[in-house]
Amino acid sequence: MTNVVLGKELWKRYNIGEGIQVHALRGLNITVDEGEFISIMGPSGSGKSTLLNLIGALDNPTKGELFIDGEKISSMSESELTKMRAEKIGFIFQTFNLLPALTVRDNVEFPMRNLSRDKKVDKISRIKRAEECLEIVDLGHRMDYLPAKLSGGERQRVAIARALVNHPKFILADEPTGNLDSEASDNIIKLLHHINNEGTTVIMVTHDKEIINNTRILKIRDGVIEPE
């Protein structure tokens, strides 16, 4: 069986000008199996977001090999990475990042428009699927709302529905509860566990020790993962 994520000796170097370089990742190894719930923890500046960018096919590593669902993405072109993100990855952001001009339903439907022609379904099926995902996060009664009308917790639930909509290989969540109160946080984590129990792999970055129960914890420090 292939790993959902397999990273070997991942290096990421940033040039911050005047010849100065920052090594955000220093030969990091990571494997994520299907169905896992991973919590990535570590101090600020340790490379968590950098790692998430690589796993999220948003960026290429400077060195090393990275596979998503068995496909080597570490040397993919920009447009191949874009296709990868649309098809295999669900994103949840700390700041929710819903599109403000679109209703809740349209926000959730949006990622389905990004699928390549052979995988794209018609508008009616897309709406149906979007509504299905909104029912999962218990927001069937908010479909016609604009994001501005929702609470933070509700917005993040919309984001979760949006992340699910294309049946991704895994969901990436960068500090998903960072902007939420503890009650809303609990709610989000329960939802993520529910989704995980249904079979979707979840990879989450967090500071919050309260929410990491029943997950596999990876501690990252100075650009490498500490031995468990």
């Binding site: 994103f91 990042n97 599109l99 679109l102 990622p111 428009r113």
Partner: protein
């Protein structure tokens, strides 16, 4: 992406409305200028049409209309006596301007009595359509002339101490601005020679070829019969060419204004779209993270600028007719136009689509350069 473009614009109502009004204003200006050009060409065409199927014999180098031309009545008589000339429908004419009052003058054209058909062949005339057998000071007016001097059939009016008696008023010839026929006063040749103190001279001859003689043959015959360095024979086509070249400066000027309006509206849309792309950095970055291709981001921005431009164009088109009529009203015209010439509609359609697309290109390119990583960091 089109639906999202619409929703995006809707969510920024005041800005969208502002740009649309800007584009609409530009379209209105382009439309009014289009109308002006159109009317100018129409009236030129109508002027030229007044000699359709005819020739104008005039002094070499005086152009058309032959206002500066002077030929002697002797030459004119020889011209009209030529065998290719239809004597019933040809006439000498003498055109002059006489002061009506301190500020206005009257364009008055003397023609041989009984030969009015040389000029007003197909035009309906209220009152009498011939000066033959009428008193010496009788005149037939073009429709615009009658309006200008505020007279109708049976009235008299005074020009340069001469009483003129209106025996006929022609019906309007062209739409829009008055053509020279519309604003002309026709009197007898002799009368005009007297009042302008030009005995024995005429301005030009209007010639209708005899039955069975083609216009081309008549033109060649006339041109060969008289010294071509002294006299010119014009056809309608020649006149049209001259008239249009007289307006070349106006056309260039109007084109220049249109070019400037185009640039202004393109820059307006472009600047606003660039602002809006900047503002939407986070949203565009989110879309990119969710797997939207650069191509589709580009499309979204171009759609938005196209939509703005097209809506501005449509509203502009709707408002052009009332605005142009207001313009005519302010310019003192009494006749209005209630349809937009197709050429103007097409021109605006092309302008709106081209401007919408082109002014969206740079902002769209900017949008494709937004990195999702940077954008997600963006707060």
């Amino acid at each position: 992406m089109l639906d999202i473009a619409f929703k995006d614009l809707k969510s920024k109502k005041s800005r969208t409305t502002m740009v649309i009004i800007g584009v609409m204003t530009c379209v209105l200006l382009i439309g009014v200028i289009g109308y002006i050009t159109y009317d100018l060409q129409e009236s030129i065409q109508a002027d030229a049409n007044s000699i359709a199927g005819k020739l104008v014999f005039e002094k070499y180098g005086t152009g058309y209309p032959p206002s500066g031309s002077i030929i002697s009545e002797n030459v004119s008589d020889q011209v009209l006596a030529n065998s290719v000339v239809n004597p019933d429908k040809s006439t000498a004419l003498l055109s002059t301007a006489l002061p009506l009052n301190s500020t206005t003058s009257v364009g008055i054209v003397g023609i041989t009595q009984g030969k009015e058909r040389a000029l007003i062949n197909n035009i309906k005339v209220n009152g009498k359509n011939s000066l033959l057998g009428q008193s010496n000071n009788s005149v037939i007016l073009g429709s615009q002339a009658a309006i200008n001097y505020n007279v109708t059939v049976g009235d008299t009016f005074t020009v340069d101490n001469q009483q003129l008696k209106v025996i006929g008023v022609m019906q309007k010839q062209s739409i829009g601005s008055a053509t020279s026929l519309d604003s002309t006063v026709f009197a007898s040749l002799q009368f005009v020679q007297n009042i302008s103190q030009s005995p024995g001279v005429v301005t030009a001859d209007i010639i209708t070829p005899n039955n069975g003689v083609s216009l081309q043959d008549a033109q060649n015959t006339m041109q060969n019969s008289f010294n071509s360095s002294l006299y010119t024979v014009y056809t309608q086509q020649d006149a049209l060419q001259v008239l249009n070249s007289n307006e070349n400066a106006s056309y260039v000027f109007l084109d220049l204004i249109i070019a400037m309006i185009l640039i202004v509206s393109a820059i307006l849309i472009m600047v606003v779209m660039m602002m809006s792309v900047k503002e939407k950095t986070k949203d565009i970055g989110t879309m990119r993270a969710l797997g939207t291709s650069r191509m589709r981001i580009m499309l979204l921005i171009i759609y938005e600028s196209l939509i703005i431009s097209c809506i501005g164009g449509i509203i502009g088109l709707i408002l052009i007719i009332p605005l142009y009529n207001l313009f005519l009203l302010l310019a003192g015209s009494t006749s209005f136009s209630y349809t937009i010439p197709l050429s103007i509609v097409l021109e605006i359609a092309v302008v709106v689509i081209v401007i919408g697309t082109f002014s969206g290109l740079i902002p769209a390119y900017q949008a494709t350069r937004i990195s999702p990583i940077e954008a997600l960091r963006y707060e």
